[in-house]
């Protein structure tokens, strides 16, 4: 399975470098948070319990530990159009 994942990561590498475009005013970045089950994921739960709000465009992927993070996840996410990644643990 990992080989399969890597093949996808590398598939678009030969595309030409695009020029930066103007950001539309209603633009919202897509953000993925990789959160450790034991701390940051628990903190995200607590923010819900305390009804603390944060932007809805942050989506959380649970990790058993942030040490589990792999470069391939970051590359894959950026390749798929994610604008920012937050690693918390």
């Amino acid at each position: 399975m990992p080989e399969h994942a890597q093949a996808h990561t590398l598939s678009n590498e030969s595309q030409s470098i695009e020029r930066p475009v103007e950001r539309p005013s209603d633009w919202e970045p897509a953000i993925i948070a990789f959160a450790c089950h034991y701390c940051a994921f628990a903190a995200a739960d607590l923010s819900g319990v305390m009804r603390l709000s944060y932007p809805f465009n942050v989506k959380i992927i649970r990790m058993p530990c942030t040490g589990k993070l792999d470069q391939s996840y970051l590359l894959r996410a950026f390749e798929r159009g994610v604008d920012g990644i937050f690693v918390a643990g």
Partner: protein, 1007 residues
């Protein structure tokens, strides 16, 4: 009599659900006993839940205790009885009948989902006890967000309906029908084999000390109020403000010993924790707001615990905390500013006036007001102050057999010592009830697991409304409908409460009817609800790991309220990525390995012997290995405890018990040559050639007394150590008319070994009392830095002063000078009170030498890869909550090998190690978790990257010289898989392809 002995019961009642009671409950339940926790409050948690952070590591208190509370709540062997009190105890050890009275909660915890709408709508407010009156709570409330059980309670004293017959708003808004105003008080009985008392302590009420202005000046707060002020979930969300005008205070003063060490106005004992918590609060306050200048006013800085002195040094040097050795006689308020004026004498004797923005009173600990009636109900004795009456040699036994005491109820103590004693009482109860272990736990029969290996994924999705908690923000029906179009989804529906009992039946039927082989529930957090649903699908014949929770409540509806469109979109994303993930799940088999029910104990001192006896009584074989020719260790040279207990008599009886015990094999003149294997399955060969199998290792290698080179020791015959003096006093008594001078902290609390040896202050006082009590016209002077007679030992400090022992302080940069004279020594010391040097002619100079780790600590550490702190003592797995465990599974720690400590503390810790090891050894087989890292040997290049980073030593080099992986040690953290360049490690249910599938599903709609 023989009848009652035959009728032992395999259950334990624990009174008190603080951190100590919880530890006992988990240890006992994990080793096959049924446990009942009786808790007066509406939630378990005790005092620790109120604290912001803990010393000396600065760990967040709630983050540590909250997972433990959840573990207690969902343990099948533990039943929590909240709002309950014991009304009578009948019977004897092995078979007690405990009568319980339970107050009405008015909320059905089975139906309540913990959504909190009732609390929001309730019109009645009162001061919050949990927030120490700094904010308000409602009449229907939970003490704090993480309360366990996770439900609400109605306060009948203030509820408008229960007091005036009108309102019932909570009932109207509760969609789960959980409110029950008909609820009544219940009385019932529990049959149990042993009772553990862990009721904790209450905080001293500083109201009595009018001169300090508490309750009069708004900006004078208690230390517990300051904890809440510091807490991110507290009344000010972690911003440091003072109550009168919400201004950010810059100068904050802590006043120590409020209610402690004060026999005239409050309590005579030392509360043991205040010096350290004040230091911690000062440090944390400074971390919150760098402008804050903290000052601590104290008598003696009692940083006696492991690494405490280093923490205080850091507070002084890195955080610029000002320490003033001065007691504050009164606090006045400047009415214009709300600032507070403190008056104190400086070290030069001059009166000083200083303004502060805020004053924190370091309030002490004291027994609950109802301690005496509590003791009478249970039928046990208390000491004169209302603490449980225990002896130094039996620190966790009450005056009644089969009833054990633990935590601050026994004496004031900090969190790790409370946790330690929690395991110690659990170990003692395990010994008492060893033959009825497992008789009261229920065994559930499960259907065989269905083989799904050749089936395509058939995913079922349940989307939960959670009453209106999710559905008022997220369009639940739309999600349930849209999800039908996702690959592999064959069924989806919405449910009002997915976690309700009837929903579990519905889910089981769905799995059968629709032939589902994977399930996603979109509801709340996996941290609390995953085990429930896993159990449900297992009952339906599915492997329990074919399940995933999509958290759309805590992480969606609750934090995006009022934004229905975006919240629904986000919830759809969350569900989609979990469906993608679960589709790639495979059934996981959980291996198990047998456990050898035997223990190796390294070190035959009092610690090793105590652990050996407890484990032997629990029914396990014990191999006690001692380097020397005789067991007994350092205690061979000790005669009395400070309480005048006869150490030699105790030691002899213990040695006899150990020698006679049929489960204990003693190996003297031997040490460990080699140990192989892993948790539950070790084989050890000793230097004397004997070889045996065992399941656990207890390291009790002990310590050494420091042999001084200072102060003419070894040069003058008049210079002796406390231990040598103790022997002299025991054999010959004090020399009539002699002058004794004692110097404290010889070889302790300074570089290179900058730690407190903990025992020396009491040793000095013990010997000083023994000298002075005989009369004989003797003089005793003790030169000290801080007198650290913590806890109830403070009584003996007072006794020594009453007997005429002189105490004189010295500073480490101006140590006493010693010169030999013809008949003794002349000691020149600088007296800070007189502000000049004083010469004392002494017949005997007695050096209070500290403790060092035993030299074998280093080799044992290397042999087993166990880490030590810079001072050479072993490091426990977690300073607060795992004080006798090593990070390596199957290894436990006790006694001086851990840190310097007194006899009673060593015995407590040794029993604790026996309790923890007993939990492990009670299992016939040890289950390996399903969520672990799997190693693919075909991909592995043996580069050793995993070997270096694994915190649990699970990768190892096998007989082929390649990397293999011990799954039994693996916790599934996946650090190995993150670092492995060949991707030879994959964590079950967190495999790379599964995470990538989640990323892909999540990014499906990104343009």
């Amino acid at each position: 009599m023989s009848n009652t002995e035959n009728k032992k019961r395999g259950s334990v009642v624990i009174v008190g659900g603080g951190i100590g009671g919880m530890q006992s409950a988990l240890d006992l339940a994990d080793s096959g006993f049924k446990v009942h926790i009786i808790q007066k409050e509406s939630t378990i948690g005790g005092t620790m839940v109120m604290l912001d952070k803990t010393f000396p590591t600065g760990d967040c208190s709630m983050c540590m205790i909250s997972p433990k509370m959840v573990e207690v709540a969902r343990h099948p062997g533990i039943k929590i009885h909240t709002l309950s009190q014991v009304t009578s105890v009948k019977g004897a050890a092995g078979d007690f009948t405990v009568a319980i009275r339970q107050k009405p909660r008015y909320v059905d915890p089975e139906k309540c989902t913990g959504c909190g709408v009732c609390e929001e709508k309730c019109p009645k407010k009162t001061a919050s006890e949990f927030e120490q009156n700094l904010s308000v709570r409602k009449a229907i409330y939970s003490e704090f967000s993480q309360a366990v059980p996770n439900t609400r309670v109605i306060d009948p004293e203030i509820c408008t309906y229960l007091t005036k017959g009108k309102c019932r708003v909570c009932e109207k808004v509760c969609t789960a029908n959980a409110i029950n105003f008909e609820d009544t008080e219940k009385e019932y009985e529990l049959k149990t084999g042993a009772i553990i008392l862990a009721p904790g302590l209450q905080r001293h009420n500083p109201w009595r000390h009018q001169e300090l202005g508490y309750g009069r000046w708004e900006n004078v707060v208690t230390s517990l109020q300051f904890e809440r002020i510091l807490s991110a979930s507290g009344p000010f969300s972690g911003e440091i403000k003072r109550p009168s005008d919400q201004k950010h205070p810059e100068k904050i003063a802590w006043l120590q010993c409020v209610g402690s060490r004060d026999p005239h106005n409050a309590n005579p004992w030392c509360s043991s924790v205040c010096c350290m918590y004040a230091t911690k609060q000062a440090v944390i306050a400074k971390e919150h707001d760098n402008r804050i200048s903290p000052s601590i006013f104290y008598m003696d800085m009692r940083a006696f615990g492991k690494d405490f002195d280093k923490y205080v040094d850091r507070a002084k040097n890195e955080y610029n905390v000002n320490y003033h050795r001065a007691m504050i006689s009164d606090v006045r308020e400047d009415p214009k500013t709300g600032d507070l004026v403190l008056r104190y004498s400086g070290m030069d004797g001059k009166q000083t006036y200083e303004n502060f923005d805020m004053v924190v009173l370091s309030i002490g600990l004291e027994p609950h007001d109802d301690a005496w009636t509590f003791a009478e109900t249970i039928g046990i004795d208390l000491n004169a102050y209302g603490f449980a009456g225990t002896t130094p040699f039996r620190p966790v036994e009450s005056s009644k057999a089969g009833i054990y005491v633990t935590g601050t109820f026994q004496s004031p103590k900090d969190i790790p010592e409370t946790v330690m004693q929690g395991s110690a009482v659990a170990g003692s109860a395990m010994s008492l009830l060893a033959d009825v272990r497992g008789t009261e736990v229920e065994h559930v029969e499960l259907p065989p697991e269905k083989d799904i290996s050749s089936d395509q994924p058939r995913v079922g999705v349940i989307v939960c409304h959670c009453g209106i908690n999710i559905s008022q923000t997220v369009d639940v029906k739309k999600i349930a409908n849209d999800v039908k179009n996702l690959p592999h989804v064959v069924h989806s529906e919405d449910m009002m409460y997915a976690c309700a009992q009837d929903s579990q039946e519905t889910i089981k039927n769905l799995i059968k009817d629709k032939n589902l082989n994977r399930l996603v529930v979109a509801s709340c957090t996996p941290r609390t609800h995953e085990p429930l649903f896993q159990e449900t699908i297992r009952q339906a014949g599915l492997n329990k790991y074919l399940f995933e929770l999509a958290d759309i409540r805590e992480q969606c509806s609750w934090c995006h309220m009022g934004d229905q469109e975006n919240a629904t979109r986000k919830a759809a994303d969350i569900v989609r990525m979990n469906v993608a993930k679960v589709s790639l799940f495979e059934p996981l088999t959980t291996d198990s390995v047998p456990v050898t029910p035997a223990a190796l104990i390294i070190g035959g001192g009092i610690s090793g012997m105590t652990t050996a006896l407890s484990l032997g009584d629990q029914g396990y074989d014990v191999h006690l290995v001692e380097k020397n020719a005789n067991i007994g260790g350092l205690l061979n040279n000790v005669y009395r405890t400070i309480e005048a207990g006869d150490v030699q008599h105790f030691l002899k009886s213990r040695i006899n018990e150990v020698k006679k015990h049929h489960k204990i094999t003693i190996h003297t003149d031997a040490s460990v040559e080699k140990t192989e294997g892993y948790v539950g399955n070790f084989t050890t060969r000793l230097t004397d050639g004997s070889t045996f199998d065992h399941g656990a290792v207890i390291v009790a290698t002990g310590g050494m007394e420091y042999t001084p080179s200072e102060y003419l020791y070894g040069e003058s015959q008049w210079v002796v150590t406390q231990r040598e003096l103790e022997k002299q006093l025991e054999e010959k008594g004090p020399e009539p008319g002699a002058s004794y001078v004692m110097i404290q902290c010889v070889g302790s609390r300074e570089e290179p070994l900058n730690y407190c040896s903990r025992i020396c202050c009491q040793d000095a006082i013990k010997n000083a009392i023994a000298i002075k009590e005989k009369g004989l016209g003797t003089h005793v002077t003790i030169l000290y830095r801080d007198m650290r007679t913590y806890g109830l030992r403070e009584d003996y400090y007072k006794k020594a002063r009453d007997l005429g022992v002189l105490f004189m302080r010295y500073e480490p940069d101006n140590k006493p000078q010693v010169e030999a004279t013809g008949w003794g020594v002349a000691v020149t010391a600088y007296d800070p009170m007189l502000n000049r040097p004083v010469v004392i002619h002494a017949n005997f100079l007695v050096l209070s030498t500290g403790l060092r780790p035993h030299p074998s600590t280093e080799e044992i550490g290397k042999m087993y890869k166990l880490t030590r702190n810079p001072d050479g003592f072993f490091l426990e797995a977690h300073v607060k909550l795992r004080p006798v465990d090593f990070p390596t599974e199957g290894f436990y720690l006790s006694g001086l090998a851990h840190a310097p400590k007194n006899i009673d503390e060593t015995i407590s810790q040794a029993l604790s190690a026996a309790g923890r090891a007993g939990v492990l050894l009670s299992h016939e087989r040890l289950g390996v978790s399903g969520i672990i890292s799997k190693h693919n040997r075909d991909l592995c290049m043996s580069c050793l990257a995993c070997f270096r980073v694994c915190p649990f030593d699970s990768p190892f080099i096998d007989e082929d010289g390649k990397v293999s992986h011990s799954e039994i040690k693996c916790t599934g953290c996946g650090i190995c898989s993150g670092i492995c360049p060949a991707k030879a490690f994959q964590v079950n249910n967190f495999r790379d392809d599964q995470i990538i599938a989640m990323i892909d599903a999540l990014t499906e709609n990104i343009a």
